[in-house]
Amino acid sequence: MPEQFYFALEVSLNGLMAGIMYALVALGFVLIFKASGIFNYAQGVLALFAALTLVGLQNGQIPFAHLINAVFGTSLHHFGWTLPAVVAIALTAVVMTGLAILIERYILKHLVNQEPIILFMATIGLAYFLEGLGDVMWGAEIKNLDVGLPQGISETIDEVTFNWFGYGFFIDRLDIVATLVAAALVISLMLFSQFTKYGRALRAVADDHQAALSVGISLRFIWVMVWSIAGIVALVAGIMWGSKSGVQFSLSLIALKALPVLMLGGFTSIPGAIVGGLIIGMGEKLFEFFIGPMIGGATENWFAYVLALIFLVFRPQGLFGERIIERV
């Protein structure tokens, strides 16, 4: 039955695209995990913070306006200018780098050589802090993010496929952009970590902080670098997701969609994030589409995790993760 087949194909394609969107968030996790063994819970909030900052800068919002107004009884809101998207994005990247420096300086530096769970916890503290900060700085109301990315159904694909198969496929143009951006990001990050000494240093740091220090790798530098990159990746994710749903608190919850991706691909693998995203995206969409209606729907959240779990039972380190070394 070609109808059904086309539906399945369409769902799979869209699943793959959704997977790419998850992978964008997962990438940030991977980078930080690779570089420091830190499971960065704050990645989702970083994306939110980046998106908030971007919108704020673009619209010329005065940071902390609400706080200032509350304290001084003023009534400030906007500087009165708007910035072109490119400038705002560049400025936001600078802000994210600054943030990375602060994070290193005030948090990570003091937690060298601690157990992973402690570091994880610290990132949760950070997530809280940034969430509050983002809201105080830019306000909690929903904001539109528009950097000129195309959205909506791609007419071309629809038409072309309709002419070919007699069935027009639905592909969101935003998803196509996301795929291209993700591909570019992944390739450049992979080149970076494979072919530069910093890439090697990253992995060394993840294995053993003390030993890394002892050979002269500056944890501080590595961390600032990695957190800046992760911040910029978060900005990209924030732009993509923000264009889709507006910028507000829930953006930070996309982290939860990235976790199964991460787990399936392996916490330490950049290509793993993408492959994991594709598998999860496609799997959960197909399941929701075909099985979901039979069992009441809204299965995506748990199905993604269960799917990842099934993979893990066979490969406990994820598809591309580094082998877990078990020796005595």
Partner: protein, 412 residues
């Protein structure tokens, strides 16, 4: 009972943070601004000043309970938590503590039955009314016949979102449409599969019970698959500016229910501007005035104020207690003249509350989004819900509750 207060305490259980903050902010602002207006312009209600307090719940039930416990000793006249979850927590508590709870268009629908839910009010309309109104509207456009039509419900996968299902199922039997259900998990950032299902099944109409980020994403996705927007109707919680703006032009023609008017074309805004906004006394950032949810907050405050007046009137004292307030709410009567006096002519329906009916008339409107003008336009007159179906459901559900909670229903 707490001693009569020197002032009238109107707490606001608001949420300006968390995943639903974007919806909570305008509501809280509207609620507060109207009460401020009363103080500034009239010196309170019946000469007694209003005291406002605000407690942040973040849409979180535990925080809601904490807020409740913190204020319940402070003679709160009325509580409006704007959260179905918190409402469920509070129903037994307020009943035991004798504090009235007003859940306007949300909460537990069967609370309409005042014989069981003595302290809970959900006038002027509830979810089941909403479901029925939407179907009525569809009946209207279809010349009274929906048989053979396919209707899909996209809903927030929570207590809130599930509310209309029973009603819609009952109505589908009555009107012969096919209903399909598409739950979306909170928060609802990813709805690809739901909308691809819609694309495949091609329902004639899509209804939506959404809140928070789920709304704009759904509207965006609907636009993406080029679902005809005029066939897409959201409940009144899915019909604010925040929901449609992100989709830009794609959202043009999207409809939603409304239980009150919107926009700033009401005389009350003249006073509002004079006494509150220009006086720098606006709540929050002051940038929400006139939006849909702001109007709703204002409407909620207005109804509360009217009930307080009523209470003052029946009990012959200006310094009313929560118990008196309850009586005022139960005796509340909103007429068109009164609405006009207040400066909100035809903003909401005229209705009278009684012990048997805490739920008001169950009337609603349909509004449609004009993406070019960026505004909501009312496109129908008041639509009555199908009380025949709904009242039966209310009776059934409230009886079940009464049995479970050991309440003997009755009006005193």
């Amino acid at each position: 009972a707490p001693a009569p207060a020197q002032d009238l305490h109107f707490p606001s259980l608001s949420y300006r943070t968390g995943p639903f903050g974007a919806g909570g902010i305008p509501f809280a602002d509207g609620y507060s601004d109207y009460l401020t207006l009363m103080n500034e312009r009239d010196g309170g209600i019946g000469g007694v000043p209003i005291r406002q307090t605000e407690c942040e719940t973040a849409y979180n039930t535990e925080k809601g309970v904490e807020c409740y416990e913190a204020i319940k000793g402070d003679s709160p006249l009325i509580l409006q938590p704007l959260s179905t979850g918190i409402t469920y927590q509070l129903i037994p508590r307020v009943t035991a503590d004798g504090i009235p709870l007003h859940t306007m268009g949300y909460g537990r629908t069967s609370a309409k039955n005042g014989a069981v839910f003595s302290h809970i009010f959900n006038y002027p309309a509830n979810y089941w009314d909403g479901a029925s109104i939407a179907i009525k509207h569809l009946l209207d456009i279809n010349g009274g016949d929906l048989s053979g039509k396919k209707i899909a419900l996209v809903y927030h996968n929570s207590a809130y979102g599930k509310e209309p299902i029973r009603t819609l199922e009952e109505l589908s039997e009555k009107h012969g449409y096919a209903l399909s259900l598409l739950p979306v998990d909170s928060p609802g950032q990813e709805q690809k599969s739901q909308w691809l299902q819609i694309r495949r099944d091609k329902p004639d109409y899509v209804l939506m019970w959404g809140w928070g980020v789920m709304n704009p994403v759904a509207i965006q996705e609907a636009a993406n698959i080029r679902f005809p927007m005029e066939n897409f109707i959201g409940v009144w919680w899915s019909g604010s500016e925040n929901d449609v703006l992100p989709a830009g032009a794609g959202a043009h023609g999207y409809k939603s229910l409304a239980m009150h008017g919107t926009g700033m074309d009401y005389p009350v805004y003249a006073d509002m501007k004079q006494y509150v906004i220009d006086a720098g006394k606006a709540a929050g950032a002051g940038d929400q005035v006139g939006s849909v949810l702001y109007s709703r907050g204002m409407y909620a405050a207005m109804l509360a104020v009217e009930a307080a007046r009523k209470a003052q009137e029946i009990h012959g004292t200006a310094e009313i207690t929560p118990a008196m307030m309850r009586d005022g709410m139960e005796a509340l009567e909103i007429t068109e003249e009164r609405m006009a006096e207040i400066g909100l002519p035809n903003f909401g329906p005229a209705f009278a509350v009684s012990c048997e009916n805490h739920g008001g008339p169950g009337r609603g409107l349909v509004q449609q989004w004009d993406a070019t003008a960026k505004q909501w336009n009312l496109i129908t007159d008041w639509i009555e819900s199908d009380l025949e179906v709904i009242d039966a459901l209310v009776a059934e559900d409230s009886a079940a509750y009464a049995a479970e909670a050991g309440i003997t229903p009755g009006c005193n």
